[in-house]
């Protein structure tokens, strides 16, 4: 890119060609007042405040900095008498039309308009003020719009359109009557991401969760990581007197560039929820009694010792947490493996898809990753396979939209449902395949790529191995058969294949619909094959670019819990547990000797063992298997067999209700540590407040119990655990807790040297497909997925999120609904062989005919109670409201 030299206020600066003066000044810490320009958004030029004197090609003229590109040798003066006079006049006009309610306005103290008025030393204007008296719009639970304070800068309109892709608001009317509003003044119906709130320079948009409970100058701002989905956005907690008052975003921090979703921005009220468990609880005669910490810890350690003496350690099971930090999960597996002497540990994500860890590690080893999730912004082709981006990982959707805007990226979306992903891509191919046909669809795409020679086959053949068997396996794929089975037309398959092989970076994101399919393992292997096929970095010098693949995990630390080895087959850092040399290394580090139980013997998982009565005691740290494990009834049966259950959690979850001892653990705002997101980036949490009530952090609880049981877990701070992780887990060997303050850690980057040393071997799996159909009595097929508004107990205890999405719903295709005579909003019963649940119906075209969709994120409607196989047949009928 060509660099331009220019002078702003006697300071020589260099800026890339095409930058506007405003951005160039901003990058060089030169202040130009302005209210409508925002680096994230397209240029608007509406506020008229960034007036500057520009001398270029020997002409001195006045220009608006945000609308004028830099040019070579340009001289810009920001503060001349003329310029200031103009600015003051503009401010007079703006203030003449602005409600001067600074004492009651929440924005006061961080308001752009207030700051500029203060800087320019504004006095009462010459103009007769026309105060607007429009009523404040409070038609939704999280945002309020006060049009009297709006200066029509248009930032919220652009943010809504460009970043969130929704376009729920726009300008209305013309001239003096111009206001911001929704179409036909209907209530705001959007994703409630709060992007408008974040970019608004005045107090027109307000956060209703704050409710006047603090002023910007009273708050302490602590950046930390969002506890909801697996993207790992940086959020800034504003605290006052030891409580979290609101969440804001910072454009300069983290991978999300200040973009958040509704959960991240408004779902913080659970931290101070009255339903938090605040003291340890011990169950006596079926009732929980509050207890002292010492008593509860003594009871747990005695009981665990008894069980160990009676049956041996391997009858104790441990379930790690996808919500706790890496450090806590590391300590948890160390506690189970050393103190309890059991290898019967697992986490929910691994129980759902035990093959995923190995395949992810393989994809990383092959170099199919980018530096962080942010790499999606550099993509030229985006392939979302079996993942509902908007609902599951909304901020990745924002990144994808940025890629579409900057690189005019193409989008290919394959999903069994017609998912919503609002974007402006020129090519947006939707492959709505029928359930169970995902593998054959992928094979058809590969066949088209190979047959039409869309990639340089010779190069691929030379740089990979087993390519011939891939060719022969796709030979058998009949395209017409694939077309028929998947319900995707051949034309669409061809255009998808063409888009995927276009030069440039290709980003593949797959998710829940792929992973939790019976053919999930094969599909992901085939996806890796596809990745290797279109990864042109090794094959072609003409079209530089590479393929990367991401798995959309469910929780914020689903990746970290697996990295830390809370799985039966791996020690921390994907080290094979059955290898004696590896074990010896860890034994040396931990200073212990493993008992004979520490091996991964068979394919039985924890639940299978519990079903056979081989688990006498269960230790659950920050997980709720009862609502998260796919087969709800099965796990409920298993847990009944267990004698003694210990749960560490912040809320009384379904699992905690069955426990014998519940320890109150602190939430993300009250602890330090690290989370690893779905793009393998490890980021650091910062403690914002001290633990609520008598709660303790999970690692402290584990240390206390271990000490009571006679082992030295003498960690004083998180940093000591981090140092140990560094030594124990090879993939975390470049990890430094102090450095995380400045830069996040990305473990696949450490493997970069190894990449390319060995050839990629194609899996070449023959196409498989499943027939997924309902039964006679239960004609519909139930699928579940993430919800944007909710995720587990945290969101259910946040008032704002509950009022945005109060009820669980079932999405029914409009044709099916018509046949069953169900109207939108009816109360319906969803019934399977296992049970029934009452919820609201949502008649939509999102779900194809024969498929109903229920989000699995509402804890009060545990949809897993109905599920007993991957695609559960259900029936739906209307019931009375109460």
């Amino acid at each position: 890119m060509k660099m331009i030299h220019l002078t702003i206020d006697d300071k020589s600066i260099i800026a890339p060609e095409g930058t506007n003066i405003f951005q160039a000044a901003l990058d060089n810490n030169i202040y130009i007042p302005g209210l409508c320009y925002h680096p994230k958004l397209s240029q608007f030029g509406g506020c008229r405040l960034c007036y500057v004197e520009v001398t270029e090609r020997k002409h001195t003229r006045h220009r608006f900095a945000c609308a004028h590109p830099v040019s070579e040798g340009m001289v810009v003066k920001v503060n001349t008498t003329e310029v200031n006079r103009h600015r003051k006049t503009v401010m007079e006009y703006l203030l003449a039309h602005h409600e001067l309610a600074c004492p009651t306005c929440n924005k006061s103290g961080e308001c752009g308009l207030q700051n500029i008025a203060h800087e320019l030393n504004m006095s009462p204007g010459r103009f007769k003020t026309v105060r607007m008296s429009a009523p404040v719009i409070r038609d939704n639970p999280v945002l309020e719009l006060n049009r009297n304070r709006c200066i029509l800068c248009g930032r919220c309109v652009s943010a809504c359109k460009e970043i969130e892709g929704v376009g729920a608001i726009d300008f209305q009317n013309r001239g003096f009557k111009t206001v911001i509003g929704t179409a036909f003044d209907r209530p705001l119906d959007c994703s409630f991401c709060g992007g408008c709130l974040a970019v608004c320079p005045t107090g027109a948009w307000q956060d209703r969760t704050l409710g006047f409970s603090g002023r910007p100058w009273e708050f302490e701002s602590i950046p930390t990581i969002c506890p909801y989905c697996s993207v790992g956005c940086t959020i800034v907690l504003n605290t006052k007197e030891g409580s979290v008052r609101r969440v804001v975003s910072n454009d300069k921090l983290g991978i999300n560039e200040g973009n958040l979703c509704v959960k991240g921005r408004f779902g913080h009220e659970f931290i101070h929820s009255p339903e938090r468990i605040k003291t340890p609880l011990i169950k006596k005669d079926g009732e929980f009694q509050p207890a002292r910490w010492e008593d509860a810890i003594e009871m747990v350690s005695d009981k665990l010792k008894q069980i160990m003496e009676k049956h041996g350690g391997n009858v104790i099971g441990g379930i790690g947490s996808e919500k706790c930090t890496n450090e806590e999960n590391y300590l948890f597996q160390k506690f189970c493996r050393t103190v309890l002497g059991t290898n019967c540990i697992d986490n929910i994500s691994n129980m759902k898809a035990p093959f995923l860890n190995g395949l992810l590690y393989k994809s990383v080893e092959r170099g199919f990753f980018t530096d962080s999730l942010k790499g999606i912004e550099n993509a030229n082709t985006l392939f979302f396979f079996g993942v509902d981006i908007t609902e599951a990982i909304p901020v990745v959707g924002c990144m994808a939209r940025k890629a579409i805007q900057l690189n005019s990226a193409n989008v290919v979306i394959a999903n069994p449902r017609n998912i919503i992903f609002k974007n402006t891509a020129k090519n947006d191919v939707r492959l709505t395949y029928s359930l169970g046909s995902q593998h054959i669809l992928l094979n058809a795409i590969i066949k088209v790529i190979i047959e039409d020679k869309l990639v340089d086959l010779k190069k691929i053949e030379s740089s990979t191995s087993n390519f011939s068997s891939l060719c022969s396996s796709v030979q058998n794929v009949s395209l017409s058969n694939a077309e028929q089975l998947s319900g995707v037309s051949l034309e669409m398959i061809r255009s998808a294949a063409k888009l995927l092989t276009k030069p440039g970076n290709c980003c593949i994101v797959y998710g829940k619909d792929v992973i939790e399919d019976p053919l999930g393992e094969d599909t992901i292997k085939t996806l890796l094959d596809l990745c290797a096929l279109i990864d042109v970095s090794n094959h072609s010098d003409i079209h530089p670019g590479r393929a990367s693949i991401f798995c959309s995990r469910y929780h914020n630390n689903s990746q970290g819990v697996n990295d830390m080895g809370v799985v039966p087959e791996f020690l921390p850092g994907y080290v094979d547990i059955n290898d004696a040399a590896n074990k010896e290394k860890i034994e040396k580090l931990w200073g212990i000797k493993f008992s004979g139980n520490i091996v991964s013997k068979n394919s039985f998982n924890l639940i299978d063992l519990a079903k056979n009565g081989n688990v006498k005691s269960l230790y659950v740290m920050g997980a709720d298997p009862l609502t998260e494990y796919p087969n709800g009834n099965e796990i409920r049966e298993c847990i009944k067999n267990i004698e003694f259950i210990v749960v560490q959690d912040s809320f009384m979850t379904e699992t905690a209700k069955l426990a014998d001892v519940v320890f109150p653990s602190s939430t993300f705002a009250e602890k330090e540590g690290t989370y690893t997101n779905t793009g393998f980036t490890t980021q650091r949490l910062n403690r914002a407040i001290s633990p609520v009530g008598n709660a303790k952090t999970d690692w402290e609880i584990i240390c206390d119990i271990a000490k009571k049981m006679g082992q030295s877990f003498s960690y004083r701070e998180i940093k000591e655990i981090t140092e140990e992780i560094k030594k124990a887990a090879p993939v975390y060997s470049g990890f430094s807790y102090d450095r995380l303050r400045r830069k996040e850690f990305h473990w696949p980057s450490l493997l970069l040297d190894k990449i390319g040393s060995n050839k990629y071997t194609f899996f070449a799996i023959r196409d498989k497909s499943l027939k997924v159909k309902g039964e006679k009595e239960f004609p519909l097929v139930l699928i579940t997925g993430a919800s944007m508004n909710h995720q587990g107990a945290y969101s259910a205890k946040s008032k704002a999120l509950v009022s945005v999405a109060p009820e669980c719903f079932v999405e029914i295709n409009d044709k099916d609904a018509k046949d069953m005579q169900i109207k939108n909003g009816d109360m319906v019963m969803v019934e399977s062989r296992q049970g029934k649940l009452k919820m609201r119906s949502k008649v939509t075209r999102k779900s194809p005919s024969g498929i109903v969709f229920v989000p699995d994120a509402y804890v009060n409607i545990p949809i897993n109670m109905l599920i007993y196989q991957e695609y559960t047949p259900v029936k739906i009928y209307t019931v009375l409201d109460n």
């Binding site: 600074c102 004492p103 009651t104 006061s108 404040v136 409070r138 409710g211 006047f212 409970s213 603090g214 002023r215 100058w217 009273e218």
Partner: protein, 139 residues
């Protein structure tokens, strides 16, 4: 030397025979008359409808040099901003009057009460206490 002495004695004698120029305050039997700009304990003011004038903007708490004011704002049923909690530590207050100066709503004024000696351990006044005198004056 003798002349100033005589002058002084003359003044003494003048005061002695004229009781209207008496400067001795017979406090606490009679409450002294205070200057107009006397700065006593801050008092919160009330609106005509009996609500507090304060909108919990927090400027008084910010400007207070002895940090004796703490405010917790909230939203009432008409979506108005009001102080859910307004506390003033009378032990810490130095009667500087900055709060009065900063207040955009003239909701806090320095009153005329100065009898603050107490045998209690804490001098924290809550919102109701601070509103008491204004409410009494209104009614």
């Amino acid at each position: 030397m003798i002349i100033p002495l005589m002058k002084g004695l003359a003044l003494t004698f003048k005061r002695f025979i004229n009781p209207f120029t008496c400067v001795t305050e017979s406090y606490p039997d009679i409450r002294p008359r205070l200057a107009k700009r006397f700065r006593g304990l801050p008092e919160l003011q009330v609106e005509d409808d009996g609500r507090e004038k304060c909108v919990a903007c927090g400027l008084c708490a910010k400007v207070c040099p002895s940090q004796c004011i703490s405010i917790e704002g909230a939203e009432d049923e008409h979506f108005r901003r009001y102080p859910k909690m307004y506390e003033l530590d009378s032990f810490r207050c130095i009667f500087c009057g900055f709060c009065e100066e900063a207040c955009p709503e003239r909701a806090i004024l320095l009153g005329d009460s100065f009898e603050l000696a107490t045998d209690k351990n804490s001098g924290i006044l809550d919102k109701e206490k601070l509103l008491e005198s204004a409410r009494r004056k209104k009614s």
